[in-house]
């Protein structure tokens, strides 16, 4: 690329053809951010580069989340032992093409990345008690073939509906394809009433795949504990509110709820899980 990008490299990472895993904040259930954060925490990823925010994020002030002032972050972490690079970032508000090329410039020219994985969530109308599924969209037939040995759905047919736009992950996969970097977009359908809270089961689903694929040797006991706790909390909501139990029973029987019932279920679950935090 001839254009200068606002990339800051603190320390050149010593890697040999690692894999890159990307997660965005403001994702449904915060799945991408939580899963990449988990990888960094467990594998002790070292921050080595970042993309400056000024061209990509509105900087008219700061957002406040959880009582804290936030600032957009777009950071790269590396862990040589696992040949892994993790990129965590807010979803840019502008200049997507320039931003994604900056990400891939770091991946390609500073890390010699051999393949990349993005993490995303999509809404599901199933109950939380149903097992989470993992879907993959790829940018080449070769990488699709490689994934055939893993337990994930690889035959998705999709076309952007009128009035909607492709996601940042699709855009990234397309640019990566132009650079001959194999890319996989991983998607976990999340029960709609967990979309604004966390879904530990969804995190485990996507992380288990990465663990197996990238041979990360992660011990998931802490995440299993989180899943148990969340399931207990959801069981408490059901026992305390018979109406909510009825709604979830109906979802378990593959029945649809009305818009009003959906809204009530979302609110009760959100309130209950947030109080319990």
């Amino acid at each position: 690329m001839s254009q200068e990008y606002p990339i800051k490299i603190y320390k050149e990472p010593d890697l040999r053809h690692p894999s890159l895993v990307l997660g965005w904040s403001e994702d449904m259930s915060n799945l991408g951010w939580k899963a990449t954060g988990y990888l960094n925490r467990k594998l002790k990823g070292q921050e080595f580069a970042e993309i400056e925010p000024e061209d990509f994020f509105p900087l008219g002030g700061v957002a406040i989340e959880g009582n804290l002032a936030q600032f957009p972050e777009s950071k790269f972490y590396a862990r040589r032992e696992y040949e892994l690079v993790v990129f965590q970032s807010g979803s840019p508000g502008a200049e997507w093409y320039k931003f994604l090329n900056a990400v891939l410039d770091v991946a390609e020219h500073h890390c010699q990345v051999k393949e990349l994985y993005t993490i995303g969530a999509m809404v599901s109308f199933s109950a939380h008690t149903a097992p989470r599924r993992l879907l993959a969209v790829v940018n080449s037939a070769e990488i699709k073939e490689v994934l055939s040995q893993y337990e994930l759905a690889r035959d998705l047919d999709y076309q952007t509906p009128p009035g909607e736009r492709p996601t940042l992950n699709s855009f990234l996969l397309w640019i990566a394809k132009g650079r001959n970097i194999p890319g996989v977009s991983l998607w976990v359908p999340i029960p709609f009433y967990l979309a604004t809270v966390e879904d530990a089961q969804a995190q485990k689903k996507v992380l288990s795949f990465l663990n197996e694929r990238l041979d990360l040797k992660i011990d998931f006991r802490d995440l299993d504990q989180e899943i148990r706790e969340q399931n207990e909390q959801l069981a408490q909501v059901r026992s305390r509110f018979p109406q909510i139990d009825d709604y979830i029973n109906r979802l378990e029987s593959n029945l649809m709820l009305s818009e009003e019932e959906n809204g009530e279920l979302i609110k009760k679950v959100e309130d209950f899980l947030r109080e319990g935090d």
């Binding site: 076309q159 996601t167 699709s170």
Partner: protein, 303 residues
Amino acid sequence: MGLRLYQEPQLENPILVAGWPGIGNIGIIAVDTLRGILEAEEFGEIEPWDFLYPNRVLIRKGVLEYLEFPSSKFYFKSMGGKDIIFFVGEEQPTEGGRLYAEGGKAYRMANLVLDVVEKFKCRRIYTSGAAVALTHHTTKPRVWAVPNNESLIPEIRGYGNTVLMSDIEGRGGHGNITGLNGLLLGVAKKRGCEAICLMGEIPVYLQGLPLSYPKASKSVLEVLNHSLKIEVNLDKLDELDQKVERRIEEFYQQIPLEIKGQLDRLKQVTDAQPAEPGPITEEEEKRIMEDVEKFFKKRGGGG
């Protein structure tokens, strides 16, 4: 980066006609209709990825097959000394959720269009858009013309059904043209090329509706035909207009009687002469605008 020409047609003193989507899609319909009628040939494009976001992805059996972007294409038509280059943009490059182009991207795109203008030695640029006006949908829309050079004013005064900003009551020759239709005029001025923006009138109460307004596109094309000294049959636009007209009438019948009474008075606004008092006073104009605003707020923004 940006401009890609597939071929370099030999053109004689061409003019460039540019259009982007906007209110009532008046400009883009006018430009694209003329391009279609003249069967102009595509010869280049502005590559979209630096300017526009993708609008469609196709995934087949899990494989991302392609990502589609809004197009920004150049076409040409050789017409023996009346050669035309068309530029048709499916979207305006926007930043930060704004509706119309502004900022660095818009400026860069306007400059790329001007690069083509200079390369082919175009003698003039026409852009086209909408003029939101206190008019009625049953009257023939006028065309507001804004040049970027004073020497063009006498010529514009000779066009039929056309007004300059100074001809419009209360404007005093002032106003602004949002988006690329306006910006291109400015960039052309900076780079020494003459340009005129032709804006077809759209009634104020239709500006927020998700409807095209081909009647105004036709007015624009009539002016363009006259200016370019070409004869083009515009029946195609009449057919489109008849379809849209039915939907407008349906909408109009939903407007409360009291407001409709005010709007009906706009049928009398047909005079373009600045010195004559209009059939609607300033106070009445203000009241109509307030009523229309109130009505749309009640409806939830009107689209």
